[in-house]
Symmetry: none
Subunit: 199 residues, 4 copies
């Protein structure tokens, strides 16, 4: 029984309309803020209000929540992805590159409260987000990990940890980090790297 807005539902809006462009960015900024405060599952209404627009406007620009989330974090994901190859060149050792890159990623996830939570594909609508993260970052984590492993020589874990598991593992380790001062995601992640590179 979806709806169908028949004649009855027609009523002129109380106050006029028509503010122009610029909404897109206002929306992105507002969403980023709200995501930090309430997580990526925050009500659309909340975002709209914060942005000073109507909910319809949010839906116009980002028909699904995923698209909004992806848009909000695209810049940072891109930056993170691009940092990988660069670090490999600039760092003293591949292991350093990997550690630095991962720290970058952790910082990103921890700063954006709720992002880590949204990263595992369970939540409805965060699938696109998950896919985007995985698609963009797994290749990077894979190559950094491979380089580091090659550099430290044979390790003791046979079917070696792959880039996907590393990325998701790191992502998971960041969950709740922002709100729990006794929890040190960074240290855990570095320990995980150490473990992955143990000869």
């Amino acid at each position: 029984m979806p709806d169908t807005q028949d004649g009855k539902a027609t009523a002129a809006p109380s106050r006029p309309v028509g503010r122009p462009r610029r909404s897109q960015q206002a929306l992105l900024d507002a969403a980023a803020e709200v995501f930090v405060e309430s997580g990526v599952d925050a009500p659309v209404r909340e975002i709209a209000t914060k942005a000073g627009v109507g909910v319809g406007t949010v839906y116009r620009h980002f028909p699904t929540r995923s698209e909004l989330v992806v848009a909000v974090y695209r810049h940072q994901v891109e930056a993170c992805a691009e940092a990988g190859p660069r670090l490999l060149v600039e760092s003293a050792t591949p292991e350093d590159a990997l550690r630095t890159w991962v720290a970058l990623f952790v910082d990103f996830l921890v700063t954006k409260h709720g992002l880590a939570d949204a990263l595992h594909g369970d939540a409805a609508g965060s699938d696109a987000l998950h896919a985007y993260f995985v698609g963009r970052l797994v290749p990077v984590s894979s190559s950094l990990l491979a380089a580091a492993r090659a550099d430290v020589g044979p390790t003791n874990d046979e079917p070696a940890l792959d880039g996907y598991n590393l990325l998701k593992g790191v992502g998971n380790l960041c969950i709740g980090a922002a709100s729990d001062s006794g929890y040190d995601a960074d240290r855990l992640v570095q320990a995980l790297i150490s473990g992955a590179l143990t000869p």
Copy 2:
């Protein structure tokens, strides 16, 4: 099995009359089932129905969802907690004990759909659950970790990883494991241990 009597409530009752826990147990059984099927966030109504009682009854026994979850998993958490000291004695090395115990914990977490998700204290109402897990298991993980560290000698991480971080880290690594066949929580956890014990 709504009629299952509490295992040790037989013989001459030491307490006055002693036979309340009837729906209590039915509730626990039902909740356990539902948690497996639909996760720990399943509607209360679903649990009540499965148990053959009214929702009011659920609330009477377990005013908050947390209390219900805690009750459901208490047995297993206890078993896990008690396994710690025993493993320390039985295992060849403290590291073995730690690894085995953590694997036990991982198994528990991964088997119970959604438990790992509920474990980090973000969600309103899961605080009691979180507190119970932490209160009961952190001492165990701490002592196992300490023993293992003592055994392997000095490690390279200065303010060493503590039992709380280990427990929560492991918990986080288990998130989503059940629904993602490409994700290997166990391997990640073992790598984490390796990292924590790297000289």
Copy 3:
């Protein structure tokens, strides 16, 4: 992106709860009234308000709009269905029986504003209603029509009009009858019968 009512959505209702039974009937009465005023597509909220209950209560009793509509009109549909065989016995001729029965049906449909509109299965959610009407009344209309045809002798229309077409035709002829004083559904329907029985 259905929903999922997480912790955040939990807020104690401002005013208490728990009025007992009797809602069912209040609901039915209210719905009947609202259907007359606004058609069977009236917002659920409107019905709930008129009945003095919350929307949840409506959904509890009638999970789909169809079930509500069917419940509202069941009595009258039953009465109509049962009148068929009786009229066949009591009337002077089968044609009289048919005409009287159809007039009964018309009266029913026209009185309940919007019922005729809902009768054709297009509207979302009125499928069950449609099925109920058809299932219950087509057999009646069929037998009355057959009896009348048998009585008047051979007619000029070869593949004779069947009970289904008669019922739906009559139903359609009643659409809008209540709100258009210049439109005489009854006369049209009687003409239709005449046409169906023309030798």
Copy 4:
């Protein structure tokens, strides 16, 4: 075909400049298409998109949905209206003329998905549509009906069926015909005519 020029707008323009109707026609074509696909209740946006114009343009040309619908079907309604007198002359009997004309009307209504539904004046905003149909076609149906009645001699229905009732009755009988293969609007309509002309 957005560039299709209005058929008779060629030659030397008798009016000042005369070449506005451009998007007007594109709109009409698009609306016709959309009406067939999604019914006359299709979202305005859909029509605008199909026509390659903004919604504002639709509103500029057709402030109400009715006006759009009327415009879309004007040609065909005109054709139908003009067919009446012609059929009266060309047909063997006035009854034949009436039957043929009504069949024409039925064909028109059934082909246009949702048109029959929109024809009864209930829905807000379809008033203009209703008025146009009635204003244009009732005179035709009246005269054809009158001629047929005069030809068959006295009938048994006292206040005889008028052209308005005939037209609306036929319209109603067409509702849902397109989507229900078991429903034969044409046969019903012919039966109705038979009934109206029964001596």
